[in-house]
């Protein structure tokens, strides 16, 4: 009990057929991020700085769905969003609709610290980025070949799957699609092999018991341009207060509806549950048919994960020397 702790994630909802090399790559990235974070914590960097630097690393690496390597909109472009929250005083910053900003989480932090607002989006956010002099690049920088391929598959899958989201119906009930996709596991109406949520996030409690959280994503593959998910919404994808910090990932709409991140803290505050119990409660009771996962830390130095998906890329480390990364249950 006590001491610093850090957790990271690279998305809840993993294709059980994910090739071994991909699993290894993911674990290496998570390990690298944990090492960055633990090193910063040992140098007494505050939680808010640690979550930002770890999420920057995740954004810069093309592996997961944030920054470079973001999922593509229906138009084949990238629109990124992120949020960051500092537990003491619950300061927060969020951005959506970024197309040129290399590190969305850093812009979210600037919104928190250098603007009178909490949330900036689209051209206004890009304008703010220019004023702040953050690093910007062409939209093409963020687009990977792999995601171009995924977009194509997603569009094909959508011509089989109905246009509107039909809760709990899978492709197996649609005769046109029955033979087309072997893996019946779905998230957000798409087969898991295509959907791959892979939002990234980090939560930290530092040596002084301060909690912070940050989440970043390119959003849903083949999303409508202008679609905002849970990642930039305080209380949904990200939350931090005096007692804990939470970052969520998975089906954005389900996370929003459940105000998932806030509920972990609310259940601790108002029902008196401890961190892991609160995470378990919220995953079990608040998602209805939604699929999601989360990482969380408490001011007492505890770490918890929870997910009702097949796997979540995650890792954690605590001051007593414990460290692990994992994908499956």
């Amino acid at each position: 009990m006590g001491g610093w702790a850090i957790a990271v994630h690279g998305g809840a909802g993993v294709d059980p057929n994910l090739p071994q090399e991909r699993q290894e790559e993911a674990k290496q990235l998570l390990t690298r991020c944990l090492n960055l974070g633990t090193s910063a914590l040992r140098s007494s960097l505050p939680a808010i700085d640690v979550v930002e630097l770890v999420v920057r690393e995740l954004e810069t690496d093309p592996l997961f769905n944030s920054g470079r390597g973001s999922a593509l909109t229906a138009k084949g472009t990238v629109e990124m969003e992120a949020s960051i929250m500092d537990g003491p005083r619950r300061r927060c910053g969020a951005v959506s609709g970024l197309t040129t900003v290399k590190n969305p989480v850093s812009l979210a932090r600037l919104v928190m610290e250098k603007s009178p607002h909490s949330y900036l989006a689209f051209s206004g956010a890009e304008e703010f980025a220019m004023q702040q002099g953050v690093e910007v690049v062409d939209n093409e920088y963020f687009i990977t070949e792999e995601n171009m391929g995924m977009l194509k598959l997603a569009k094909e899958a959508n011509t089989i799957v109905f246009d509107y989201r039909i809760p709990a119906l899978g492709l197996e009930t649609c005769s046109a699609g029955a033979g087309a996709v072997e893996n019946a596991l779905q998230m957000n109406g798409l087969p898991i092999s295509i959907y791959a949520p892979e939002t990234v996030g980090c939560v930290v409690v530092d040596g002084q018991g301060r909690c912070a959280a940050a989440t970043s994503t390119g959003g849903l593959m083949n999303k409508m341009s202008g679609r905002i998910g849970d990642s930039p919404l305080i209380g949904a994808g990200t939350y931090a207060c005096d007692i804990c910090a939470v970052s969520c990932t998975g089906e954005g709409e389900a996370i929003i509806r459940a105000t998932l991140a806030r509920d972990v803290a609310a259940v601790m505050e108002y029902k008196g549950l401890e961190l892991q119990d609160a995470v378990d409660y919220v995953i079990k009771e608040r998602l209805d048919e939604g699929k999601a996962g989360m990482i969380a830390v408490s001011r007492n130095g505890e770490v918890a994960y929870g997910f009702n998906t097949t796997g979540m890329f995650r890792g954690c480390a605590t001051e007593d020397g414990f460290m692990e990364v994992g994908i499956w249950e």
């Binding site: 607002h117 900036l120 202008g226 679609r227 919404l233 105000t259």
Partner: protein
């Protein structure tokens, strides 16, 4: 148990010296919207339809900071946002950054019902509006002379405000006593419950006077400016940044569910303990037909009615 409805036209530093010519039209608008909502509930319309139609009416009124009458961004433009939520399913729809859509709340409902998403913003939302054929107009339709004046004053004072300083009177006394210089009114909303306990909530706004282009407030953030589940429906108003941080609307419901507080107790706790004084107000109804309207600002334009015949229209705290 019975139906109940509450609506608001914004909480903030509404000066007690508000002149009759500015007070009367707002009270009339609140009365009119309340009557519309009550009639709809009596006609057994689902609460989701009721909150939408009431908020459409509030948006169309130039008296309040939503739709026509929205406050202006720092560039003198209008960027509207809205959100609607259904208590039974917790389905929701939200929009931000609208500049031509006459009724943002209706577009939010279409996002909820006609897309696989919850939230669309800016160009993407405008494009969706055109696809759906909703009513759009030239952006100048929403701009009122009052708001042009407010923006001018805010720029002169180098201030971002939630609107409703008197643009004509220049009543500086009221503007300066809040440290940040914000005058805190803005946003419209409606919550309703039918006699079966079905709940719904809707909120709509033009945001903050002199806000940065692209600024999103609490209104479209589920759990902040709006929330509905099986316990209650809540619509909040005030300083968006504080409402987001305090997850105001969600917390009212969470206190009822997790701590067993009553609607009034939960609302009072959130307003008194969780947001700075002068920053917020809310209206809420519970599944059992209770209603509450609370604020820690000077005033809140509001109205409510319940099936047992109670009704109230107000601006400042009831004595």
């Amino acid at each position: 148990m019975g139906w109940a409805i509450a609506l608001h036209g914004g909480a903030g530093d509404i000066p007690l010296s508000l002149p009759p010519e500015r007070r009367a039209p707002r009270e009339a608008a609140l009365r009119h919207c309340l009557q519309l909502g009550v009639a709809a509930l009596k006609a057994k319309q689902p609460p989701l339809d009721v909150v939408e139609l009431v908020v459409r009416e509030l948006e169309n009124s130039p008296c309040f900071n939503a739709g026509k009458g929205s406050v202006l961004t720092t560039q003198g433009t209008v960027e509207m946002e809205a959100c609607i939520m259904d208590g039974n399913t917790k389905n929701c729809g939200a929009v931000s950054g609208l500049s031509t859509v006459v009724n943002a709340i209706s577009l939010a409902r279409l996002v909820m019902e006609k897309t696989p998403h919850i939230y669309l913003a800016f160009e993407g939302a405008e494009a969706f509006a055109r696809e759906q054929g909703v009513e759009t107009v030239d952006a100048s339709h929403f701009i009122t002379p009052e708001n042009i004046e407010r923006l001018k004053q805010a720029k002169e004072a180098n201030r971002v405000q939630i609107d409703y300083t008197q643009p004509i009177q220049k009543d500086l006394q009221n503007e300066t006593h809040i440290a940040s210089g914000d005058s805190q009114i803005g946003t419209v909303g409606c919550v309703a419950v039918d006699d079966q306990g079905n709940l719904a909530s809707a909120t709509s706004t033009g945001g903050l006077v002199n806000k940065m282009v692209g600024r999103i407030g609490d209104t479209p953030v589920i759990g902040a400016g709006i929330y509905a589940n099986r316990f209650c429906a809540v619509s909040a108003t005030g300083k968006g940044e504080s409402i987001i941080r305090a997850t105001v609307a969600r917390d009212v419901a969470a206190l009822m569910e997790y701590k067993g507080l009553s609607l009034k107790e939960a609302a009072a706790y959130v307003i008194e303990e969780c947001v700075p004084k002068g920053d917020a107000g809310l209206v809420a109804v519970s599944a059992t037909g209770e209603v509450t309207m609370q604020f820690n600002t000077t005033g809140m334009f509001r109205a409510c009615a319940t099936e047992d015949g109670f009704s109230e229209i107000g601006i400042w705290p009831s004595v």
